[in-house]
Amino acid sequence: MTATATPLERTEIRPGRPILAPKGGPAVRPTAAAHLTDDQVEQLGRELDAIRDRVIATRGEKDARYIRRVIKLQRSLELAGRITLLFSKRKAALVAGTAMISVAKIIENMEIGHNVLHGQWDWMRDPDIHSTTWEWDFVSPAATWKHTHNDLHHTWTNVVGKDKDVGYDLLRMDEDQPWTPRALGNPLYNLVLMPFFEWGIAIYDLELEAWRQGDKPTADLKRDLKLTAKKALRQFTKDYTATPLAAQLVSRSGRNALIGGFAANCIRNVWAHAVIFCGHFPDGADTFTEEMIEGETRGDWYIRQMIGSANISGSKLMHFMTGNLSHQIEHHCFPDLPSNRYAEVAVELREICERYGLPYTTGPLPRQVYQAWAKVCRLALPPKRLPKQTVNQTPVLPRRGAFPIAARVL
């Protein structure tokens, strides 16, 4: 065709955006992948692309039925739980209602909300189950969460200084984050964060830190504040005003309904917090420096996702209740593949990691939670200073021990 309008130049590198290099590799590969050649990394990238292509080619009716069944189950539980809470004057009803709503909220946030908002089900082109229309049962609005999570966290996974999920601007979660006396509060902050996790995330999604540094325009902050306030008000009204009021009118169970709603939110918050902290903070999940991502190829990007994430081992029910975030490694390599397919992908990824000599971190929930908490406590304390020049002479140890050493190779 005859091009009459402005000819466009491609490959313009936008500042601050990762453009994957077609060939080569970063100047510095992460320690765990330092033994791989550029060709090997490229081959690994091709193997993972092939897995992705295969899953995409076989997505279909069965998967669609799966997500619809989960949504149906979740809505039934939610409805049954809320109706039961209306009669929660009786202890049995209070316990049963709270349990049902807790499970409903967990499924809604994790297996449905998180994954739908990732666009895992967009391929169905169903506007009822679509990343652009979904709103979840969580105080943080879908729109702001999608930005900080999908766009920032999944792009910059574990790059200290870039991925704010490393500590959520609240906790010191990596040796490379400078220690300040504020870090002494690490365990306390985390303890408070646990039961109020959704509020923590809502505040985190406002990106106050970025705004303070001038990276986020005030207009955007105002827009996000408005969205969040509206959403939070609705969420708060449902659990703490409307349901108790209805329960009071129906059976004078207002007080217990309030307790039930609060308990359900807390249970969901504690669970979500535990699962999410197991994703990147247990021993073995690496963090990266900005130097390590410069010149990253597709293969390098996959490697960063694999060695920066940690899985949780367990039963099918366990995987389901974590929203398949127990397959964190698979999720990070392929964030937009349907979650019900991660289990089959995991078998292959594990084999690939073994073949390429890459760590594949996984463990049962209690151990992963313990390790994440151990890190929270350990990093509350100032680092034991080594004289600067000895850092480079120290042999780089793999960071799998109970007390990992910062693998800063500059």
């Binding site: 466009l8 169905m124 969420q235 937009d336």
Partner: protein, 359 residues
């Protein structure tokens, strides 16, 4: 309960972020606040390759006028596909579409649809409808182009004693002819309908030749005095349009010669390939020629369009933008794809021929 606004608001307070319809959909598959749906009530075989699918639409559907069409969404292997179909049922009756197994979606509809299936719907639309005042009519149809006209005939002929309709329908064979027996019965029963079947593949069969008026004069000598409606394949309609234009130009005395046509193949933008194409950002009113390796996102941004974007590598889907027309090439796989209404990841797709985006 959803019909009473105050109750709906209260229910919504208890269910947020869900809407009452989301919960009602547990028991009523037609319930949705986002997407009009219908349930299939009857499937009738018309010819070996075509079926009439009757459905009961949910709340929000508008009754159709005879001759109108509706967008029908159907799920095939988990993926929603939309096509436009003329409604073949008479006005006032529950809607029905008559589908012939041509193309992927129609073939699936013909082969798979069963009673109880859910169809996704958009309200009826279209200007291919009966004239407001009674007048003699000529219907020229070919193949499945008969469907909207069938709705008109079913609406008009049994109800209006003053109806005067001539239908000239072209089909390959008698077995392929839609509504064959029903039309003959109607013609038998009502003097206001005359039916001419034109079979192209039966003995001595040939195509209805519209390059001049000869064939038309034979089957309907007073064609110039009738308001004409035509529906069929593109070449059939082009020939009819040319014929009527000529008749109008010749200024024949009785030439009232109004011809109304209905195309049922979507007008696709021509051209596809690795050469890129002209990208039109409709809401932003910007046009840019983009090379084949330039993402739509880059093209939009450089044209000054406010494009949503996120990871710019095909992961986060922050950049999804509806495609209005044309096709795009996935720069990761080289696959050329694109359907009207599909949400496109602009950060990894380039133009494959002319593209229109709804932004």
């Amino acid at each position: 309960m959803v019909r009473i606004p105050a109750l709906r608001r209260m229910a919504s307070l208890l269910l947020t972020p869900l809407e009452p319809e989301d919960v009602l959909s547990l028991v009523n598959p037609l319930s949705s606040h986002r997407q009009l749906r219908g349930v299939v009530t009857k499937v009738t075989r018309e010819t070996p390759e075509s079926r009439t699918i009757h459905f009961r639409p949910g709340r929000g559907w508008n009754p159709h006028d005879a001759g109108q069409w509706a967008r029908i969404g159907v799920e095939i292997d988990g993926v929603r596909h939309w096509r436009s179909y003329s409604l073949s049922a008479p006005a006032g009756a529950d809607p029905a579409i008559t589908v012939t197994a041509i193309g992927f979606v129609s073939t699936e509809l013909v082969r798979r649809t069963k009673v109880g299936d859910i169809l996704f719907l958009d309200v009826p639309q279209g200007d291919f409808v009966l004239p407001q005042h009674p007048r003699p009519l000529l219907m020229l149809t070919a193949g499945s182009g008969l469907t909207p006209v069938m709705s008109m005939i079913r609406t008009l002929v049994p109800r209006r004693p003053d109806a005067d309709v001539v239908l000239v329908h072209s089909a390959r064979t008698r077995d392929d002819a839609l509504f064959h027996d029903e039309l003959l019965e109607l013609a038998d029963q009502f003097p206001g309908l005359k039916v001419v079947h034109w079979f192209t593949r039966e003995a001595q069969g040939r195509r209805l030749d519209l390059t001049d008026a000869t064939d038309l004069e034979t089957v309907c000598p007073d064609w110039r005095g009738r308001a004409a409606y035509a529906c069929g394949p593109a070449d059939f309609l082009d020939a009819a349009t040319a014929l009527w234009d000529r008749a109008a130009a010749e200024g024949a005395a009785e030439a009232t010669t109004a011809l109304t046509i209905e195309r049922f193949a979507p007008v696709l933008l021509p051209g596809a390939g690795g050469e890129g194409g002209r990208v039109t950002f409709e809401k932003s009113d910007k046009v840019v020629d983009a090379p084949g390796d330039c993402t739509l996102l880059d093209a939009g941004e450089q044209a000054g369009v406010v494009m949503p974007s996120g990871c710019r590598m095909g992961i986060c889907r922050s950049c999804l933008t509806p495609l209005v027309a044309g096709q795009v090439r996935d720069l990761r796989t080289g696959e050329v794809h694109g359907e009207e209404g599909e949400l496109i990841q602009t950060c990894i797709n380039a133009a494959a021929g002319p593209v229109h985006l709804d932004i």
